[in-house]
């Protein structure tokens, strides 16, 4: 019996008592293969007769393409196919929100790294040489690299769809309200890269039916599938995607990278094609975190209560739209921070430029504005002569408060508690190391610091963002539970990218059936969409879908058993993998209970509906929110500008902890990315040219850079409507950790430091400042 049923999270029972499985630190099922080196990542796959694919990319950020000669490449021995734009049988464009990006640039290249052609050959080195032999005639044009200029209506559009991708005005409350104390500032965030370890890679295998099987590392199989099928002019069922091992994601695998190219090559050659990006290609070939320029004006009364916020937010979306419209919505909606803001005037824009395309990265628009509004809160505290933590407590959102989008804050919102718990945690004892040459001083192994010129600083920040998709998006996850021959198998297309959903799925199914004899099938498009592994949504959405599908299958099992025994299902339950009656008369295995039949239940799980923002930026656009506070302790070498992040303390609103070790892992890993953005990580783009597309030049925190993380509290206030009461935990650690580190460096140095990442020269070469860090 197969049925598809819809379940809404509003119908989910309130959080249940913890089972023997949920709430424990169950080990990941893929941990064993991963430590043995046996886990098959997308770059580890091989098929008999497979070719190697390679993409040729534009070296120019802006150029007209007047000719492409592939003859020399085609004639190279070992080359099996060379494809350009004319070889795309279907839609020549793809994109997550707007189909504005060509599969191959044909008449114009709009960013450095844009795909122009693709090659398949019998050895990766032959493919690389062949790509070099493709002769593309470029006429470079002056790149549009300044987002302010892109926004100017007189600037010619660099894309047929125009330069402005989206504009959002938020008009909330009284636009002319004023406060007694005013602080202003302009802030910038650089372009961060997700820098996952496993490079983009995949294996495409053509099928005799004219379709293709693609084994791919991605965050959302179905949205890839739909874009690939559209470009290939194939019905979606002829494009079957299978999740290959994913070496991290963090947003960079939401967009199509090599998916279309590799399938085209496989279909053209009739042979399996494997493609693995080099690290340089990976930097050029996926979207980044949007760089931001933000001007803020906060007005508050003498008690420190925020009266009004005015802000202008400008995000550089780079050459194509990707998920820019949703990133911008987050930047606008969360522009005030987790504070009660009665009046707001916010104008937010995201524009196209000839810089690298930007899209999703952990924190998704909330990170950029947090850097700005938290710097403003510190300025406001200084102007009021108030303790920064006290100022935040005084303004902290509470349940029932109205957000600056007019939405009433429902659900768990322990904002004051995360602030308090984080602030109350003990500080690390002592100060900077006082012996010269200590490895723990700024500069570490370089042993450059003069201990007398090292200052310690402490910074505090709070942040929040939405969970799940917003603005009326039909956000759902599908799960299937099959009971056959006594075996329970769970099917979900949700992408495991390292976060540990695969562990949770086991825990949830085990919770329903009371047995650990559960098989979690590999994720593929053979089951309906699970939505994206992003927006901190899979624990809620696919966890909820798996729970609902398992419960429905269990209920069908009990119905079946009841009919066989001539009784009613209400007297039966599934306990420890057996079907038993309350009186003990019936006690049989699941296999016996099914009587040889197979049970299959498929569920589409939806969260409560959301609504678009109106023309004043008002609306119930979001379904749930998560909050976190961070306190950073840093040591700063004032002469060399080097920063040692000593410790980051956090308290986080998690709803309910379903797997403590995995929650800790998300928090520590998210803080590492926040620390990276604060003091080291930036894609350097000079006139549209990427200058540091390597791990030699784009630095991410090593074990020596990463501070001790102190988790002061996991605040467990179950979220109404959330399966198990659990909130997603992946993004909040990344949102305010950057702002906390920046605040700590400001405190140590006395400098304004309005831009992250803070570079040594911003400290060492800054003019000395006295007193407060004014605007």
């Amino acid at each position: 019996m197969t049925t598809v049923s819809a379940v809404s999270s509003t119908a989910v029972a309130p959080a249940r008592v913890r089972s023997a499985s949920l709430g424990t630190s169950r080990k990941r099922p893929d941990g064993g293969p991963k430590v043995k080196g046996e886990f098959a990542f997308s770059s580890d796959l091989w098929a008999e007769g497979a070719l190697w694919g390679k993409v040729l990319r534009s070296p120019h950020p802006a150029a007209r393409i007047t000719g492409i000669d592939t003859s020399r490449a085609r004639n190279l021995p070992g080359v099996k196919a060379v494809l350009v734009a004319d070889d795309v049988p279907g839609n020549p464009f793809f994109g997550l929100e707007m189909k504005d990006q060509p599969v191959f640039a044909s008449d114009v290249a709009r960013y450095m790294g844009e795909a122009v052609a693709a090659v398949a050959a019998d050895h990766p080195e032959v493919a690389r040489k062949a790509a070099e032999l493709i002769e593309v005639t470029y006429e470079p044009i002056d790149p549009l690299v300044d987002p302010e200029r892109a926004l100017d209506p007189v600037t010619p559009p660099m894309h047929p769809m125009g330069n402005t991708v989206r504009h959002i005005s938020v008009r909330h409350g009284d636009a002319v309200a004023s406060g007694d104390v005013v602080v202003e500032g302009t802030y910038e965030v650089g372009m961060q890269d997700q820098a996952f370890m496993g490079p983009e890679s995949g294996l495409a295998i053509p099928d005799e039916d004219g379709g293709v099987d693609l084994f791919i590392s991605t965050q959302w199989l179905h949205v890839d599938r739909d874009q690939v099928a559209d470009c290939l002019a194939l019905p979606p069922d002829k494009v079957r995607l299978h999740l290959a091992g994913v070496g991290g994601a963090f947003g960079a695998r939401e967009d199509v990278s090599l998916q279309v190219h590799i399938c085209l090559l496989a279909l053209r050659t009739g042979r399996p094609v494997k493609m693995v990006f080099s690290r340089e290609e990976s930097f050029l070939g996926h979207v980044h975190r949007h760089p931001a320029r933000m001007s803020y004006r906060h007005e508050a009364d003498r008690d420190g209560r925020i009266v009004k916020i005015e802000a202008k937010i400008l995000l550089d979306g780079g050459a194509y739209a990707s998920s820019s419209t949703a990133v911008l919505a987050n930047a606008a909606c969360f522009a005030g921070g987790p504070y009660l803001v009665p009046n707001a005037v916010i104008d937010a824009d995201v524009v196209r430029t000839n810089n690298p395309p930007c899209g999703a990265m952990r924190g998704f628009g909330a990170v950029q504005v947090c850097h700005a509004y938290e710097a403003q809160m510190d300025k406001l505290a200084a102007a009021l002569g108030m303790d920064p933590v006290e100022l935040r407590l005084r303004n902290a959102l509470q349940p029932g408060d109205e957000l600056l989008t007019g939405q009433a804050l429902t659900g768990a919102a322990p904002v004051a508690e995360v602030i308090r718990r984080c602030a109350e945690a003990p500080l690390p004892p002592g100060g900077p190391a006082d012996e010269p040459g200590s490895m723990t001083l700024p500069g570490g192994a370089g042993r450059t610091a003069d201990p007398t010129r090292v200052r310690r600083g402490i910074g505090f920040a709070v942040g929040f963002k939405n969970l799940m998709y917003s603005e009326g998006f039909d956000d759902y996850s599908t799960a299937r539970c099959r009971i056959e021959h006594g075996i329970v198998t769970v099917f979900s297309a949700a992408a495991e990218v390292g976060q540990g959903l695969v562990t949770l799925v086991e825990q949830i199914a085990e919770d329903v059936f009371g047995t650990d004899k559960i098989i979690v099938a590999p994720a593929d498009t053979g089951v309906g969409s699970a939505g994206s592994t992003s927006a901190s949504r899979q624990t809620w959405m696919s966890g909820g879908a798996v729970d609902a599908a398992c419960r429905k299958a269990r209920d069908s099992l009990l119905d079946l058993a009841a009919r066989r025994h001539g009784t009613v299902a209400a007297v039966l339950e599934v306990r420890e993998g057996r079907v038993v009656s309350f009186d003990g008369e019936i006690d049989e295995t699941i296999e016996e209970a099914t009587g040889g039949a197979a049970i299959e239940e498929t569920v589409e799980f939806r969260h409560a509906p959301t609504f678009p923002l109106d023309e004043r930026g008002q609306g119930d656009a979001h379904v749930s929110f998560a909050f976190a506070a961070h306190r950073a302790v840093v040591d700063v070498d004032l002469d060399l500008g080097l920063v040692k992040v000593v410790e980051v303390t956090t308290a986080q609103d998690v709803g309910r902890v379903l797997n403590p070790v995995q929650v800790v892992g998300q928090i520590e890993g998210g803080i590492a990315q926040g620390v990276g953005l604060a003091v080291m990580e930036e894609i350097l783009v000079d006139q549209g040219l990427v200058r540091n597309a390597s791990f030699t030049d784009y630095l991410i925190p090593t074990a020596l850079d990463m501070p001790l993380v102190q988790i002061a509290a996991l605040v467990e206030e179950p979220e109404p409507g959330a399966p198990f009461g659990a909130k997603g935990v992946g993004e909040p650690p990344t949102i305010s950790s950057t702002a906390a580190v920046a605040a700590a460096v400001r405190a140590a140095s006395g400098l304004a430091l309005t831009r992250v990442p803070i570079r040594p020269e911003h400290i060492a070469l800054a003019a000395p400042r006295q007193g407060e860090a004014g605007s």
Partner: protein, 204 residues
């Protein structure tokens, strides 16, 4: 249909398509050599001499445990031991590694299902996406061979050549400290006087 790694050779000329292709063995930039990996000898014939040890392990010998995150010696995910020395296999030309003893993550544990380091990684939460994990496993084995009682700072320094983007290193440090302490405790039980001075082979 798909397997992790492979044992055949990807660049053998495709004869039906390439009738004019000369014999690969005659190409000036190709060579033949023998690699000793995890105690096994492998004959390489007609391989392009520009191939890295990482490439040969992954694509010719069916040993995909060493990973390919940067291929320029920055990330440590391809870490292997060559004659007992920890190296990035992406920076070693395979043809120069003939006659040396190469140990990859697949060769650790000598018959055990999991080494103590591997067990600790799975139990402490040191594994998320797992792409950096094999390189870290090799590095941590190497560290604890050389220094049975590393301080936290020494551990951080030893693994600082292995980039991890998921974990923030916290659980990895815990895993290493767990193994260090267990090995020291085992050594202390075995020889109370010389506690920790030597490590038992295969301990853990």
């Amino acid at each position: 249909m798909t397997t992790a790694g492979r044992a055949d050779q990807p660049d053998q000329p495709d004869q039906p398509d390439q009738p004019d292709q000369p014999d690969q063995a005659d190409q000036p930039d190709q060579c033949s050599y023998t690699l000793s990996v995890n105690g096994q000898e492998h004959e390489l014939r007609g391989a392009w001499m520009g191939e890295s040890l990482l490439y040969v392990l992954r694509n010719r010998l069916g040993l995909p445990g060493a990973k390919n995150a940067c291929e320029q010696g920055e990330c440590g995910s391809c870490s292997v031991l060559v004659d007992g020395e920890l190296v990035c296999s992406c920076l070693v030309l395979a043809a120069t590694a003939g006659g040396r003893e190469i140990v990859t993550v697949e060769g650790l544990g000598a018959g055990e299902r999991f080494t103590d380091v591997q067990v600790a990684f799975t139990e402490t939460g040191a594994v998320q996406c797992g792409f950096c994990t094999p390189g870290l496993i090799v590095t941590v084995h190497d560290l604890l061979e050389r220094n049975p009682r590393p301080s936290e700072l020494e551990i951080r320094e030893a693994i600082s050549g292995n980039l991890c983007r998921c974990t923030g290193y916290g659980r990895i440090l815990e895993a290493v400290e767990t193994v260090r302490d267990a090995r020291l405790a085992a050594a202390s039980r075995a020889a109370p006087v010389a506690a920790g001075a030597t490590r038992q082979e295969g301990a853990g």
